[in-house]
């Protein structure tokens, strides 16, 4: 069957089960969009390409699938870079299709030409420039395969205009392996046995769960594993939801803004089991004081994550779900039960820490951002999909909204990309039209992709945006307060727009609350409105996120409330 390049793209998208493409048209992409409009696939036209990539990212995380973007050449392509970098850091499978000038113009500095493959090499898992229409189908299939297999990540395919217009024979193909790319899924059984030996000998063990648990769908296996062995669990920001946030074994998040008990447990444990984590600096603090008394078991599908930052006693390369499943099975075979170990003293110690410094804030007459998040949790019964921007809003969301299920907390963890949460919420809402999706935002971050309000209204994706408005770039202001003698250079946002009027201008609903007693009613109104709503909460301007570990300090040395 002879098809054009654009038709081949649609065939592959259909084969891969794509139902939504986020993106913006442009000169080099007209043929592809022309063909897209003839299919059943929904095109969500964002108002900026960065919004398109974040939306695809939010879609991918909520749905546990691959997000797809389609943009034009030149500026359309360069606008995807931040979104790609964020997805790459957080291992989110995306396909970003960029149109390119015709092959005979490549390298000529043609209108709207950039070397996007060159630009995105370090911020994609892999990327391709398609030079012959005959290679298009295979390249696209390979791109999907690479994006979703192993440690997932974004893959970019650059498609020149003459390739999308050119014709060739098309036959559906399948790709199940590549010569030069073979991720290790199955963990080594010997290593697992070594791990179990260590676990049985440990009297103060801790599990540290990360984004890899969510990506591999290992939550059930993790719950079985932790409960059976009675091991307390902490999580990274990316790991929130991997283990139920309301479970008795849950310690809360660890790291720079981790709970007291989580960080202290890391400081005292004799065995740390890292699962799907990469020991990022925000988690470890001062590296040589991290888990100083612990033997470390590290399970990750990416060998480069292991021993990159910290020495490991038992490295296990493999899929988190398969590894945990196999560990659970080995315990069955060997009749291992927690009774063999005496961990009572350990749990008593943890309870003491928990009671000594629980997460807390001082509720006075002013509206506290933490209170807004707590109320949101209460009113949504913890069942919303929460996205966040980056900064204080992100950490308060992580601290005060316990997540019981994976894929319900969506945040730009590694890149820390302001402007992520709102488009990501739009993507998540598109993935689950009937679920409640809330973006917990700051007044700074929300302005970085506020134009997507038009997208939310256009497609009636009824996302709720909770702005914790302190008229500051709050997290940096906090650093300035604590470490720069309160010199608030370039963080004051008092000039900020009237968000209620702004919402109205875009055709959304805008609400505002300035006092604690207004919060519940305003939230109820917002949550029961079946269209996009912005809620502007004027919170205490100088509230800080606590606990806080100053950058470069041991994580057991926390500034507390």
């Amino acid at each position: 069957m002879e098809l054009t390049g654009s038709q081949i793209i649609m065939e592959v998208l259909k084969e891969e089960g794509v139902d939504t493409v986020f993106g913006i048209i442009g000169g080099a992409a007209i043929d592809i969009f022309d063909e897209l409009a003839k299919t059943e696939i929904t095109h969500i036209m964002t108002r900026h390409e960065q919004g398109a990539v974040h939306a695809a990212d939010g879609y991918a995380r909520a749905k546990k699938g691959v997000g797809v973007c389609l943009v034009t050449s030149g500026p359309g392509a360069t606008n995807t870079v931040t979104g790609l970098a964020s997805a790459y850091m957080d291992s989110i499978p995306l396909i970003v299709l960029t149109a390119q000038v015709p092959t005979h113009l490549i390298g000529n500095d043609a209108f709207q030409e950039v070397d996007i493959v060159g630009i995105t090499r370090p911020c994609t898992k892999h990327n391709y420039l398609v030079r012959r229409v005959e290679d298009l189908a295979r390249t696209l299939k390979e791109a999907f395969y690479v994006a979703r297999s192993g440690r997932p990540g974004p893959v970019l395919v650059d498609i020149p205009k003459d390739i999308s217009q050119g014709k060739t024979d098309y036959k559906p193909t399948k790709i199940s392996s590549l010569k030069s790319y073979n991720p290790t899924y199955k963990p080594n059984r010997k290593q697992l046995k070594l791990a179990l030996d260590l676990i049985q000998k440990a009297s103060k063990p801790v599990i540290m769960a990360g984004g890899g648990v969510i990506l591999s769908g290992a939550s059930d296996e993790l719950i079985t594993f932790a409960r059976r062995l009675k091991i307390p669990v902490t999580g990274t920001l990316m790991g929130l939801g991997a283990f139920p946030g309301t479970d008795k074994l849950w310690l809360g998040m660890l790291g720079m803004h981790g709970t007291y008990q989580a960080n202290m447990a890391i400081g005292s444990c004799d065995l740390l089991i890292g699962i799907g984590v990469r020991f990022d600096d925000r988690v470890t603090g001062k590296i040589d004081t991290f888990a100083p008394h612990a033997k470390i078991i590290h399970i990750d599908i990416d060998p480069t994550s292991i021993r990159k930052n910290i020495p490991v006693t038992v490295p296990i390369v493999g899929d988190c779900r398969l590894a945990l499943d196999e560990l659970n099975r080995l315990m069955d075979e060997d009749h291992i039960s927690p009774g063999a170990r005496d961990t009572n003293a350990w749990f008593e110690q943890i309870e003491q820490w928990r009671r000594a410094f629980p997460l807390a804030y001082e509720q006075g007459d002013t509206l506290k951002p933490q209170y807004v998040v707590e109320k949101l949790y209460e009113l949504t019964k913890g069942e919303a999909i929460i996205t966040t921007e980056v900064g204080q809003n992100q950490i308060w969301a992580a601290q005060y909204y316990p997540f019981d299920r994976p894929n319900t907390f969506i945040t730009s963890g590694g890149l820390g990309c302001m402007g992520f949460g709102f488009p990501a919420a739009i993507g998540a809402q598109r993935a689950y039209p009937d679920k409640l999706v809330v973006d917990i935002a700051g007044d700074g971050s929300i302005q970085m992709n506020i134009q997507e309000l038009a997208t939310a209204v256009h497609y009636n994706l009824p996302v709720k945006v909770v702005i914790l408005n302190n008229r500051y770039l709050g997290m940096v202001r906090q650093w300035q307060e604590l470490f720069y003698e309160k010199r608030y250079a370039s963080t004051d946002l008092e000039q900020g727009p009237d968000f209620v009027q702004l919402a109205k201008a875009y055709g959304a609903l805008g609400l505002k609350a300035t006092k604690p007693e207004e919060v519940e009613l305003v939230l109820q109104t917002a949550l029961s409105t079946p269209r996009p709503v912005i809620i502007d909460f004027w919170v205490d301007r100088e509230e800080c996120v606590y606990p806080m570990v100053p950058a470069g300090s041991p994580i057991t040395e926390m500034l507390l409330v």
Binding site: R121, P122, L129, V146, L178, S180, Y181, P303, T304
Partner: protein, 162 residues
């Protein structure tokens, strides 16, 4: 931890951009390439790369893992510490004054090099060997006046691997 020179041999897809991915990985992660040689293998779809770099064992471990992770990299062998043959080649244009001509030719003979070009003023000498041999040879030539050098990076082959 001790810095050690490592010779790493790679088998990669013979495609545009692959070298740039490898070079980008080194620069992006703060590793250093000391020498680099690339050429097609017997299979025109793959290329062989020999590169040398230095670092402690943690850095070399991370580096080889990162190279392995690149989709276009088929195999990574760290040859250091294994049984392997390593060669470099240099072309050396050396001033050939009448009083030095005989001495230069003697050195060429001792180091088993080849004179590949002769003029009234200079010789061009082809020398191959490991880094130490090339270094020693060049040191001995230096007093005669080296006008120009063109030198390859290391190429290497494992003696055990098939």
């Amino acid at each position: 931890m001790n810095e050690e020179k490592h010779t790493i041999s790679l088998l990669v897809d013979n495609q545009p951009g692959v070298l740039s991915r490898i070079a980008g990985l080194f620069s992006g992660r703060g590793f250093n390439i000391e020498s680099l040689c690339v050429a097609e293998t017997m299979d025109p779809l793959t290329s062989g790369i020999t590169l040398t770099t230095s670092g402690n064992h943690m850095i070399i471990e991370q580096l080889t893992k990162q190279l392995n992770k690149l989709v276009n990299v088929i195999k990574v062998y760290d040859l250091t510490g294994t049984n392997f043959v390593e060669r470099e080649m240099a072309l050396v244009k050396v001033r050939a004054n009448p009083e030095h001509r005989a001495e230069i030719l003697r050195l060429v003979d001792i180091f088993r090099c080849k004179v590949v070009d002769v003029s009234s003023t200079h010789y061009i000498i082809e020398v191959t060997g490991n880094q130490e041999k090339l270094g020693a040879f060049l040191n001995l030539l230096k007093p005669m006046g080296i006008k120009e050098i063109s030198r390859t990076g290391s190429i290497a082959l494992s003696r055990n691997r098939k």
